[in-house]
């Protein structure tokens, strides 16, 4: 049995929680099973930077004691959870897969971690990522790449590649990632799992290590659409510790999940099926559109003309914000310090030794785009193009309730195939960056395989805070999807 077939037979997170809550299964046994799966295959996949076996066992025992005492252990009781290693965990390493934070133990938990553990989920480990979430293949990790569980010669996608691989391989029932330009959805697509980028501001970013603050969102990676809805219900909603958090209650998603798509207007985004999208991926996207139509949706072609400028705008805005956010790694308050005679020399020596090549490239690209004489031509122009993209989406949503597009232009590519050509790597994000620029939600759902037998994901895009409608379409696609592994 290959890993993918094994994963498809694993119980959903909601099934695990139901069994633990009812006392039919012990959380400790669930955790031991997952630790054993990790033991079997982690050396081959490298999904984790650290496996937290001791604390996972202790947390599972605590859940079991709560159940035994007749108290409520939470909606995700006993559900094994993998956390992208850019989410702060008090007392456990949070490295961002960077040498500059290799030994950092945050003094606080991210709000999403606090909420999930309060809901009974059990953290089993911290997952590998492209350094500081900058990449689309998880090859930019300072600790070595993660491999795709469906084919270990291929990348898992990125930057949340460790989280996607962990869920696909059955190392955890659910995972969290962060999505700045597709970093949840693209690895979800390449590993055959569900991935959600929520509306900007729906999920707290307190304790998410910042990459590009006008784009970053935390979201779930799961094996089922319902599991993703359940996680988002727990992590969503206002957090006073994040000033960009929307002051609204958590979204109600599970209650509407089975309402179907009859009567909904769905637009297939023509610009996101253009050049660069492989024919097999385009064919799957059209098949997904047919599935929604068969379920009663009114499906037509949609146009978001400025979306074609997404990559250009994104790869100026995100590096600009990154260059500012990563200025904090100066060897003074936390993380690596390389000693030198003066503070200035220490700053430079620390950053030079601590950052990998892709992070340096992005810092320089952003510094250049923000520098005197170039600000208006690059950063300023990109911000104006962002306005056009947002306006084109809003125009499309006057005609449509939801939009449909591929998630990744191709299935998983071979390790090393794109590492020498950053621009070729950036083009992987062509279908995902528009949603980050617009701040609107999108979900990637597995929908069959490409010609190579590897998973294909399709994206449902929605207006801001329309997650409930988006999840209804995702559930229809999940039910109609051909198998996502050969």
């Amino acid at each position: 049995m290959n890993a993918a077939a094994a994963a498809s037979e694993l119980p959903s997170a909601l099934a695990v929680a139901a069994a633990v809550r009812s006392g039919a299964r012990r959380a400790r046994d669930v955790v031991e099973e997952h630790l054993s799966a990790i033991e079997d295959r982690e050396s081959e996949l490298h999904a984790f930077n650290v496996v937290l076996a001791t604390s996972a066992r202790a947390a599972a025992d605590a859940v079991d004691r709560t159940v035994a005492a007749g108290d409520d252990p939470g909606p995700l009781a006993g559900v094994p959870l993998a956390l992208k290693d850019n989410l702060c965990t008090r007392g456990a390493p949070t490295t961002c897969s960077s040498k500059i934070l290799a030994d950092w133990h945050p003094p606080y938990d991210a709000t999403v971690v606090t909420r999930l553990t309060a809901a009974g989920a059990i953290v089993v480990g911290k997952t590998n990522l492209d350094e500081f979430a900058m990449g689309s293949s998880t090859e930019n990790s300072a600790f070595g790449p993660t491999r795709n569980p469906h084919d270990v010669t291929r990348v898992p996608g990125g930057s949340s590649g460790g989280s996607a691989a962990a869920v696909a391989a059955g190392f955890a029932s659910i995972a969290l990632g962060s999505d700045t330009g597709g970093s949840i959805r693209q690895p979800a697509a390449l590993c055959g799992v569900v991935g959600v980028k929520p509306t900007y501001g729906l999920v707290s970013r307190y304790g998410l290590v910042a990459f590009a603050s006008s784009l970053d969102q935390v979201g779930p990676l799961t094996r089922t659409v319902a599991d993703a809805a359940a996680v988002l219900e727990v992590i969503g909603g206002h957090d006073a510790a994040d000033s960009t958090s929307i002051d609204a209650p958590p979204p109600a998603l599970l209650a509407h999940l089975d309402e179907g798509v009859a009567g909904l207007r769905v637009g297939v985004v023509a610009e996101l099926l253009g050049a660069g999208v492989a024919p097999d991926v385009a064919a799957r996207t059209h098949a997904a559109a047919d599935a929604l139509a068969a379920a009663g949706a009114k499906v037509e072609e949609a146009s978001v003309p400025a979306a074609v400028y997404g990559i250009s705008a994104y790869y100026l805005i995100a590096p600009a914000e990154a260059s500012s956010n990563l200025a904090r790694y100066d060897g003074v308050r936390y993380g690596l310090r390389v000693d030198a005679a003066t503070t200035g020399e220490m700053n430079t020596a620390t950053r030079t030794a601590g950052f990998g090549a892709e992070v340096k490239r992005r810092i320089m690209l952003g510094t250049y785009a923000l520098s005197a004489g170039y600000y208006d031509a690059y950063y300023g122009k990109a911000q104006r193009v962002r306005t056009l993209i947002l306006a084109d989406f809003e125009a499309a949503y006057e005609r449509f309730d939801l939009l449909l597009a591929p998630t990744s232009p191709t299935t998983a590519f071979a390790l090393g195939a794109k590492t020498a050509d950053p621009l070729a790597m950036y083009m992987n994000d062509v279908c995902t960056v528009p949603s980050n620029l617009s701040g609107q939600p999108a979900i990637s759902v597995p929908f069959g395989t490409g010609d190579d037998g590897l998973p294909v994901g399709v994206q449902v895009l929605a207006p801001a805070l329309a997650e409930a409608t988006m999840f209804r379409a995702a559930a229809v696609l999940e039910a109609a999807a051909p198998p996502s592994a050969a």
Binding site: P107, S312, L316, D330, T342, T343, M364, Y378, K381, V385
Partner: protein, 100 residues
Amino acid sequence: MPDRITRDEVAHVARLARLDLTDTELELFTGQLAAVLEHARDVEALDVADVVPTGHPSRLRNVLRADVVRPSLDRDEVLGQAPDTEGGRFKVPPVLGEAP
């Protein structure tokens, strides 16, 4: 859009970003950054002079909180993560005497 980025500009930007690049890195990064910036030229034809820039997609503005004392992180725990401390403060090498 400006002319193709030069090796000297990349070296200047690296200094601004407090990064030391080897000659090999400088050469490599100059070509790679030029390729990305060249791709960004596809927006050149767009007339966006009258378009308002979007800095972030949130509709929020100036979120304030009440100015009241509340719990904060434990100082010793925070300082425990620092490379060097002295007397409850972060300690750094000399600042004076640096080149401007």
